[in-house]
Assembly symmetry: C2
């Protein structure tokens, strides 16, 4: 069965979304807006909603940024999802947090807490952070190197998982008769001493309902894929062609055996930006209208960011990208830079065409068409075993989520590709992921 997530950027995925009358203007500080999105996605039986994050405002040209509100001012994801957890019952809640500027003990607690509040629906999207703006909010004048970031992330995830096992599942017997609340031998001290972290433990919260909250990742670099093969259960990735998506899928899944993992224990969900019309013509027109709303200074700023901060001002907008840009000379996500360069070369785009293309979908694949067209594409990729599902990023929120839920989801359900009711009670159960055993529990002791 296909998996569906919703990646809900505040006013929507399209860079000009806030200019559309279908968007919630104050999305970044409107809690009820997110509750509405979550309820719509839950009614449509989405597996999860997914919140991106960074620990800084986007840096750049302030005049351009003032016209581009996405990720300048918005909710912190774990608190927002805890609020949403109280208002929903089934949908998974995946929040991003960085391993570069947090402590493993604090992250382990917060996600365990979210998992208890939501009765087993929490997920953690592990990121290593990718920009200097974040570093400078945490006492550093320079960002960790790519290598150090991944080394830290790997150790960090290991510590967090170890902490989640501090208490055995049946630790709390709560027996008023004997006066014993927990079994003393059910509490375990991690005593981790590693390269980047020393964490004794135990964690001061009961083992999460899911055992471990679900781990998501988005890194598509070699280091990122290796980390994902070892630790991730959901991978979010940008894929523009079926061939590349299939290659990525096969590559990543084949790496898992090295870590003793089965391929079905990781769900690969590329981003999908649907632009929907009741006819193809209407869909195209809808897309054209959104593209026409893009302010040029915003498009240029977005492109500069995607290229690791390369300043494009002064270059001819109707000429090609300067040849001096490469994926190697930036300390941002190499795979992101490379995918932008690939796109420009593949389609021979000018700077203006490139930023218009990117601004519309923020680096993700756009499909423009009828609900049947979109379901056809999704089905083709799914049947080709190039994906396990999709992370849907509606262009304008809440409007385009409503349309997707009302049109594409029923079409997928009609084809038997997507659930009509939730299979389980937890995110892990709905995704078909195994509940991890506690490393400290002796076989046969339970």
């Amino acid at each position: 069965m296909m998996k569906l997530g919703g990646l809900f950027h505040p006013t929507g995925n399209h860079i000009a979304a806030w200019l559309s009358p279908d968007s919630q203007l104050d999305a970044g500080s409107n809690f009820q807006h997110y509750v509405k999105l979550a309820k719509t996605a839950e009614a449509a039986r989405f597996d999860l909603l997914f919140l991106a994050d960074a620990a800084a405002v986007r840096g750049g040209d302030l005049a351009a940024l003032s016209r581009w509100p996405q990720y300048m001012a918005y909710f912190e994801p774990t608190t927002l999802l805890a609020g949403i957890a109280a208002m929903t019952q089934h949908i998974g809640l995946v929040a991003t947090a960085t391993t570069s500027y947090n402590e493993p003990y604090n992250i382990a607690r917060r996600y365990a807490s979210l998992d208890h509040i939501s009765a087993g629906r929490a997920g953690w999207n592990v990121v290593t952070s990718s920009n200097l703006d974040e570093s400078m909010n945490f006492g550093r004048d320079e960002h960790f190197s790519h290598e150090t970031r991944y080394e830290r992330a790997r150790e960090f995830v290991g510590v967090v998982r170890g902490l989640w096992d501090s208490w055995e599942d049946d630790a709390f017997i709560r027996d008023r008769e004997s006066g014993v609340y927990f079994r003393p031998d059910s509490l375990h001290t991690l005593d981790h001493r590693g390269t980047h972290f020393s964490v004794r433990g135990p964690l001061n919260i009961a083992r999460p309902p899911q055992g471990h909250p679900v781990i998501a990742q988005a890194g598509s670099s070699n280091d990122g894929m290796e980390l994902a093969a070892e630790t991730a259960e959901i991978v979010f990735t940008a894929q523009h062609t079926l061939e590349k998506a299939k290659a990525f899928y096969d590559d990543l899944k084949s790496r898992m055996s090295r870590y003793g993992r089965q391929p079905e224990q990781l769900k690969i969900m590329p981003g999908l930006n649907p632009v929907i019309g009741s006819t193809r013509e209407e869909a195209k027109q809808r897309h054209a209208e959104l593209q026409a709303m893009i302010q040029p200074e915003v498009g240029l700023e977005l492109l500069s960011n995607a290229l690791g901060g390369f300043d494009l001002r002064g270059y001819d907008l109707d000429g090609p990208l300067p040849g001096t840009i490469s994926a190697e000379n930036t300390n941002t996500s190499k795979s992101t830079v490379q995918s932008v360069l690939d796109m420009a070369n593949r389609e021979n785009l000018t700077i203006r065409q490139l930023y218009q293309k990117m601004a519309g979908a923020r680096g993700q694949r756009t499909i423009i068409g009828t609900p049947v067209d979109i379901a056809d594409e999704m089905e083709a990729w799914f049947r080709a075993e190039a994906v396990d599902g999709f992370l849907v990023q509606p262009a304008v929120l809440p409007g385009d989520l409503d349309v997707f839920a009302a049109t594409v989801v029923p079409e997928l359900q009609r084809r038997g590709l997507f659930r009509t009711k939730y299979e389980g009670a937890t995110l892990r159960e709905n995704l078909g992921l195994t509940r991890p055993a506690n490393r400290f529990t002796k076989a046969g002791s339970q």
Copy 2:
């Protein structure tokens, strides 16, 4: 008007609370339990609910701890309060977080986020942490010294407040016509470089509805009082006699002028542990029943903790405390240790009597009597200007909160001492605290 907060320890304040049939047995991981408490307190027009916290399980003798579940395994407060925010409308939500093992940028974000989710009801109880168990979860083999902790805390709070001012209140004009979402000159970079922290900013969330979430503190040492005089808006303190409470109140409020602050901008709310009966006899019996439930190994463990880890095993339980214990030779809260020693001396208590007394109220003042008796005591302290209100810690939850809300609150209301409806929309408004101006906003510019 008197202020009332609820300090809700998972199963209740009494150390044997979980053994009472009136407690919620799985309180530490039962979200709906907390929602119920919050709703009860809100219906009774409490100003706030307050969650204690530590970043470690309590250390100590595991056999004893297994009979004493308080603060071994429980929710992380900011996520829990975000969930509760979604289910309530008026009550203030104050969560504890330490300045020793967090980063100011992360704390500023989380509390700002909670303030937005709750539409202006967030508060931060600033603690510096007091035990080695926490240090060892964060890469340190020893705890920061008392002096360093307070120096860090002072700088930390300053940075957080500065970050909350990153955006001016009217920054977001969201003007679709002009294409401008925020005024570029309304975004401010803190550029803090201090002894313990370097934080550039700006914060990536809009200024909180309250300007700044309300700052609470509980330190009663000289350093703690000085920090409170400078930065706190609520002070939680343990006071056992009217005279000492009055002296503390006058001392703390008199320190505020040094920082250009008015006395009414800080609310002093001692802890209050009411044991209520419809007659005095019934209240006494209720208390005796709870005391009888205290397991000896638990009482001894509690006392040892309050004395900075001094191991009391082996001493005669029916003799006095050993004379070698002093407040100076521990790196825990000196004022806590001293208050325990004072209590033992004042009433000439044996070890057993002392732990029974402490175990019942966890260091806070207990009043045993009818609703009228309790209201009398509260009124006397309030009219003597020894307190601005109380932080009520029901012995057993949810049972004793229900009783307090149904009996003592109406009595206070009848006397005109406590509100019958909320005065404002935010915690700050209900407490009568001024909304802080943004340090970056130029006079007359708004």
